[in-house]
C-alpha cells in the first residue's frame, strides 16, 4: 500500500495523447501545477480536459492550450483566457460548456457508481438540447450522465502514502469529486506525510480513490484577483 511515486513525471506515466483527463481546481486555486508542467513537457496532445476553468494565458491549463495539446475542453467557465477564446472562436478547440453544479455532480456520480441522475439545471437552455426531460413535483429536470476520465489529477494540501488527502480552504473545490471519478487518480500534495499523521476523522478524500501520490514542489499558487481592504 505504497502509492508514492517520485515526481510529476512518474505520476503521469501512462497518460497518452487522446486521453480524457480531469483536472481539479477553480480558476488557479487548487490546480495540480506540477502535473500540468509535466504534461506540457511530455508533449501529449489531443487531450480532452475536464476542468471547471481553463486557466489563464500563461498559467494553469493555459500552458497546455498554448502548446495546442488540448483538443476539447469540458468546463463551466472559461472567461479568463484570451488564447482559449481565440482557439474556440476559430474552431481549433472544441468546447463543451456545462453548468458548474452539473459538472461537479457528474464527476461525483461517476465516482459513486451512479450512471445518471436528474437535475433542474439547464432545462430550457442549449444545455438541455437532446437530453431527456422529466417532471418531478411539476418541475422539469434533465437527465445528466456520469462523467468519467482515464486519469483524474488533483492537488491537495496534505496527503499520506495510502492516498488519504486533506485540502486547504477553497483549494478543495472540484478536487474531491474528481478524485473519485478517475480510472486512475493522481494526487499531488504540498506535504506528504506518513499514514497515521492525518486524523482519520478529518480526511477529505479517503485513499481508496487515489492510485498515485507525490509531493509537489515550487508551488506558485498564483492569485488571479488580488483584492484587499485598507488597514484603516
Amino acid at each position: 500500500m505504497n502509492k508514492v511515486v517520485a515526481n510529476a513525471k512518474a505520476a503521469i506515466e501512462g497518460i497518452e495523447s487522446g486521453m480524457t483527463l480531469m483536472l481539479g481546481g477553480f480558476g488557479l486555486c487548487g490546480i495540480p501545477e506540477n502535473c500540468i508542467s509535466a504534461l506540457v513537457e511530455k508533449e501529449v496532445n489531443n487531450l480532452i480536459c475536464i476542468s471547471n476553468n481553463a486557466g489563464v494565458d500563461d498559467f494553469g491549463l493555459g500552458l497546455l492550450l498554448q502548446k495546442r495539446q488540448i483538443k476539447k475542453m469540458i468546463s463551466s467557465y472559461v472567461g479568463e483566457n484570451d488564447e482559449f477564446e481565440r482557439q474556440m472562436l476559430s474552431g481549433e478547440l472544441e468546447v463543451d460548456l456545462i453548468p458548474q453544479g452539473s459538472l461537479a455532480a457528474r464527476c461525483y456520480a461517476a465516482g459513486a457508481g451512479i450512471p445518471a441522475f436528474f437535475t433542474p439545471a439547464g432545462y430550457g437552455t442549449e444545455v438541455g438540447e437532446g437530453k431527456e426531460v422529466r417532471y418531478f413535483n411539476g418541475k422539469p429536470h434533465l437527465l445528466e450522465a456520469a462523467l468519467n476520465a482515464d486519469f483524474a489529477i488533483v492537488k491537495a494540501w496534505k496527503g499520506d502514502r495510502f492516498g488519504n488527502l486533506v485540502f486547504k480552504g477553497t483549494a478543495r473545490n472540484f478536487n474531491p469529486a474528481m478524485a473519485m471519478a478517475g480510472t486512475i487518480t493522481i494526487a499531488e500534495v504540498e506535504e506528504l506525510v506518513e499514514p497515521g499523521e492525518l486524523d482519520p476523522n478529518f480526511i477529505h478524500t479517503p485513499g481508496i480513490f487515489v492510485q498515485r501520490i507525490f509531493q509537489g514542489k515550487d508551488y506558485e499558487k498564483r492569485i488571479e484577483q488580488k483584492t484587499v481592504r485598507s488597514q484603516s
Binding site: F26, N52, P99, Q100, A105, A121, N173, K221, R229, Q231
Partner: protein, 219 residues
C-alpha cells in the same frame, strides 16, 4: 438614477436576518457591504465556502481562499468550507434563501440570459444555470439598458437562455420590478426617475398600478 452601489444598497434591503445568500459576480458582490451589522447573513460562494467575509488586509491574502469571482477573501467565524459537489448540493437542494445575479437580458416571463453572445462572447455559465434553475428566490441586479441604450427588460430574450421563468424580482438603476404572470410589475422608482422614463426604457410589458413610490436608499 442609481449607480451600482445604489442597486446593491437597494437589494440589501431584501435580505432577512438568518438568510443564506449567494451573490453573483459584479454588482451582486457589492451587496455584502450594505447588510446591516446587526443582521446575521451568511454568504455562500459556490466554489465552496459559507460565511465569506470581507477582503483580507494587504499582505494577508491567501491564494487558497478565494470566492467564485476568483477574488481573495476571508472567512468569518462560523464559516465552513466544502467541495464543489456539496456546494451545489446546497444550491440545488434549495438551502439558499436568496440568489442575486447579473443578467444581459430578462424577459417579462422571468427568462434570463447572461452567459453567451453567439459568435462574440462565450465565457460560460459557471454556476448560474444551477442557481437559477434551483433557487426559489432570484433577484437580478443590472442596468436597465445596455451600453447602446437598449432595454434589457424584454418581451423575450434574444440571447441564449440561462434559465426559464425563474427570475422573481429585478433591481436596476431605474426601478424595482416584480415578475408577475402579466409581465414586469413596477414596484419602486429610483430617486428622480419618472414612470414614463422607466416605461420608455422597458421593452417588455410594464404594469403600473397606482402611485409608484420612490426607493428609499440610505446613504
Amino acid at each position: 438614477m442609481l449607480d451600482k452601489k445604489g442597486i446593491a444598497k437597494r437589494i440589501a434591503q431584501e435580505i432577512n436576518d438568518g438568510w443564506y445568500v449567494n451573490l453573483g459576480i459584479g454588482i451582486p458582490t457589492l451587496i455584502a457591504n450594505y447588510v446591516p451589522d446587526d443582521m446575521n447573513v451568511v454568504f455562500q460562494s459556490e466554489n465552496g465556502i459559507l460565511g465569506m467575509g470581507p477582503f483580507p488586509f494587504e499582505g494577508e491574502e491567501d491564494a487558497d481562499l478565494i470566492n467564485a469571482g476568483k477574488q481573495t477573501i476571508t472567512a468569518m467565524p462560523g464559516a465552513s468550507i466544502f467541495d464543489s459537489a456539496t456546494s451545489f448540493a446546497m444550491i440545488r437542494g434549495q438551502h439558499i434563501q436568496l440568489t442575486v445575479l447579473g443578467a444581459m437580458e430578462v424577459a417579462e416571463n422571468g427568462d434570463i440570459a447572461n452567459w453567451k453572445i453567439p459568435g462574440r462572447m462565450v465565457k460560460g455559465m459557471g454556476g448560474a444555470m444551477d442557481l437559477v434553475a434551483s433557487a426559489d428566490n432570484i433577484i437580478v441586479a443590472m442596468m436597465h439598458t445596455n451600453k447602446r441604450g437598449q432595454s434589457k427588460l424584454l418581451k423575450r430574450c434574444s440571447l441564449p437562455l440561462t434559465g426559464v421563468k425563474c427570475v422573481k424580482k429585478i433591481v436596476t438603476n431605474m426601478a424595482v420590478l416584480d415578475i408577475t404572470d402579466e409581465g414586469f410589475k413596477l414596484i419602486e422608482r429610483a430617486p428622480g426617475v419618472s414612470v414614463e422614463e422607466i416605461q420608455n426604457a422597458t421593452e417588455g410589458k410594464l404594469i403600473v398600478e397606482g402611485d409608484i413610490p420612490e426607493m428609499k436608499i440610505p446613504d
